[in-house]
């Protein structure tokens, strides 16, 4: 043991570019032994790229990484793991059909005689790990029968079984209930006391203050802030996350003249199981309503409930003066609702099918000539929608998979507008598109609202939400905690603080 304190992890001058676009520019990060160090930043700030470099998933273009004082090259995930870096809360490292202990020791099973696995030893070791962690888990239970909180504990146990000295936790509380979150924080303290260092990625300010010693904020691939939490205020952290300059193209347009007094939908006391409770709001014709909140705050659950995917367990929904009970998506569509889901590739488009087929899929009834589909009608209808939203496509019979992400998203929006809904709901419509396309999609959203439709839009990117919304509901833990008119939001920081509940 040397007398000078050795850092658990020291990353200096890390640079990384993807196809020429720099994502990390000379980023530094350090983690002391037994420290909990929070890592924050907006989507695309470079957090996950930095962590993937530490885990050996990506290779850095430049810079040095030291683990426990020694320079390491981290060519792959195995090298990172043997250096003592453990990733937890990536659900894709567990096998649901195996038991807890089988998962913990997968590929590292304790062996007995004849090359057979020593089951009882493995079980004892697994139980010992959990009792060290101070939790009791039935290690023989099949993972798929256990709640998410126990999946996370299993991930931690698995990392500890591999002698991890550094744990990376990515939004670990996103799917936890309150008491489970408290149990996790207590566990983190116990791990810290044993000299385990933790990198804690979270947007939740209260959690960061509760659990972390220091925070590092990244913005646009650069270090924006590193400080002890005892030395910074939430407002300073948010300022570092957001940055001072507001990009001009994200300016807000006042649309209040376009919004009618008439409510197309009134929601009162809506609840859905454990995910939503006591949701109340009005939605007006011509209005764009933004939903802000962290992952797991209930944004997606709210639109899913309105669309009949999740079941409403309490409350009323009134549309155009009549109370409705929305049974399923088909029923929701017939009531004039449309939902563009978050994962458009999985849920919104048939990628191998042509642009034309995708656009006209919800309209087949109206495009029939007798029992057969009318090709000319389909062509004309698709061309109309493509023209209206200036979707860049050389030939409407080419497969959607050939289009860029932004144009795919326009096809999805065009597809649902074809059904002429009164209320269009969009979950993260600009996820994964470039800034130019983002601007076009936001213009498209405004145009839709100008045509007299009501729009509900979910976005994690607050500048975008501030740019397009006329009103913003802030959700947290399944409840609406703020209902803000756009004019009452002075700055992005203000909204950021509301979202993070600081």
């Amino acid at each position: 043991m040397s007398t000078t304190p050795v850092l658990a992890v020291e990353m200096t001058g890390i640079t990384k570019a993807f196809s020429g676009v720099p994502v990390l520019r000379e980023v530094g990060f350090e983690l002391s032994v037994g420290e909990v160090h929070a890592l924050a930043g907006e989507n695309g700030a470079g957090k996950s790229t930095l962590m993937k470099i530490l885990q050996g998933v990506y290779q850095r273009d430049g810079g040095d990484v030291k683990v426990a004082g020694e320079l390491v090259s981290l060519p792959d995930t195995f090298a990172a793991r043997s250096a003592g870096i453990g990733m937890v809360f990536q659900e894709f490292s567990l096998i649901p059909t195996l038991t807890v202990w089988e998962n913990i020791f997968l590929t590292a099973e304790p062996m007995g005689r004849f090359g057979l696995i020593n089951d009882s030893l493995a079980r004892e070791k697994a139980e010992a790990i959990f009792s060290d962690m101070g939790v009791s888990v039935d290690v023989t239970a099949q993972l798929e029968n256990l709640p998410t909180a126990l999946w996370q504990l299993t991930e931690i146990a698995k990392a500890l079984a591999q002698n991890a000295r550094v744990l990376i936790m990515d939004e670990p509380t996103a799917s936890l209930a309150k008491h489970e979150t408290n149990a996790l924080f207590e566990l983190i303290e116990r791990l810290q006391a044993r000299g385990i260092s933790i990198i804690y990625i979270s947007h939740r300010m209260d959690e960061v203050y509760r659990v972390a010693d220091r925070i590092t904020v990244l913005r646009d691939g650069r270090n924006a802030l590193t400080a002890k939490l005892s030395d910074v205020t939430p407002a300073q952290i948010v300022a570092a996350i957001v940055g001072r300059e507001m990009s001009g193209i994200m300016a807000h347009e006042d649309r209040s003249a376009q919004i009618s007094k008439e409510a197309v939908m009134t929601v009162t006391g809506l609840a859905s199981g454990k995910n939503l409770s006591n949701i109340t709001f009005d939605l007006h014709r011509g209005e764009i309503l933004g939903l802000a909140g962290l992952m797991g705050s209930g944004r997606t659950e709210l639109v899913n409930t309105l669309f009949g995917i999740d079941r409403a367990t309490a409350g009323t929904i009134t549309m155009n003066g009549t109370t409705v009970s929305i049974r399923n998506p088909k029923h929701a569509i017939s009531l004039g609702l449309a939902l563009i889901p978050e994962d458009r590739r999985a849920q919104g488009l048939v990628l191998e099918h042509s642009v034309q087929e995708n656009i006209t899929l919800p309209l087949l009834d109206e495009l029939k000539s007798g029992p057969l589909l009318g090709n000319a009608k389909i062509f004309a209808r698709a061309a109309e929608i493509i023209g209206k939203f200036s979707i860049k496509v050389a030939d409407q019979t080419m497969p959607v998979s050939k289009l860029s992400g932004g144009n795919q998203q326009k096809v999805v929006i065009g597809k649902w507008l074809g059904t002429d809904p009164d209320i269009l709901m969009m979950d993260e419509p600009t996820a994964g598109v470039d800034i130019g396309t983002k601007k076009e999609i936001l213009a498209m959203v405004r145009q839709i609202a100008d045509d007299g439709k009501a729009v509900i839009i979910i976005s994690s990117e607050l500048p975008e939400l501030l740019s397009v919304s006329d009103r913003i509901l802030v959700l947290r833990d399944g409840e609406v905690i703020r209902d803000l008119a756009r004019a009452d939001i002075p700055s992005e920081e203000f909204l950021q603080l509301a979202v993070q509940g600081a």
Partner: protein, 324 residues
Amino acid sequence: MSTLTGQMTRSFRFVQRFDWRKNIIYVGFVVVLILFAVFLGDSGFTTANNLLNIARQTATISIMAVAMTFVIATAEIDLSIGSVAGLSSVVSALALSSYGLVAGILAGLLVGLVVGAVNGGLVALLKVPSFLVTLGMLGLVVGLARWITASAPVPIADDIFIQTFGGGDVAGIPSLLIWAVVIVALGAVVMNKTKFGRQVRATGGNTQSAMFTGVNTARIKFYVLMLSGVVAAIAGMLYAGRLQSGRFQWGTGDELSVIAAVILGGTSLFGGRGAIIGSLFGALFIGLVNNGLILAGLDVSQQQVVRGAIIIVAVALSSKKVSR
């Protein structure tokens, strides 16, 4: 009164918690056994001879079901096993008559090894779906078997071969049964007690997770498909030994009985699970039904209809997940 309610609640919970998918095969097996014993007892169903017969007739299906359990546990499928059995029976018989016993056995095994390796290579390296690869292989292998024999049976006269592969007895126990017991036992140990078995189930349970944990999933898929080919070749030689000839027809259609046996046994087509003993009982169940229907005096067409219906019902029950 309250204790009675307590007991009832407890037994109700047991019914709810009882894992039907895992255990339906044992329930079904016992129920069908009792039904046949009651209704077909007079037709000789319960005689030791008949029961032994059932075990003997299902031995090859049981053996192939062991390998198929590994394949299905990785969420793949092997449709070529029946025709591999046929090809191995004729190749083995041909080599036997020209080059002797050792060559005959090695040639038969080689058929399974080569076909299995090709299947596995295409699936693991080129990522071709195993359904398509092995479907194509099914036709290719049957064609090959017919081609090299001009569709004629190849007689086998070697006594040791016949004794070893399915024709003989050891201390009064049919060698077929010994083969089945050994392979089932080996399969159960490998599936449950070795790293390989664990990695097979991990591969099928969630391929991406398994890869992130350091399981070489491509290699696992290659091995299980190769294993399936080799085991099918052994089954082919067991047919050849028992029926004292190699014929391209041996094993025809067995892939369907084998897959049905595996699914009946509680292994999920979606992968991640592998119940070797369940597969054995699945095979025995199918054998029981076949035997019972013959004893009941149904003609072949009626047998087919009833057998198909029973299998559909049983598979539907075994794949039903009772909500918790």
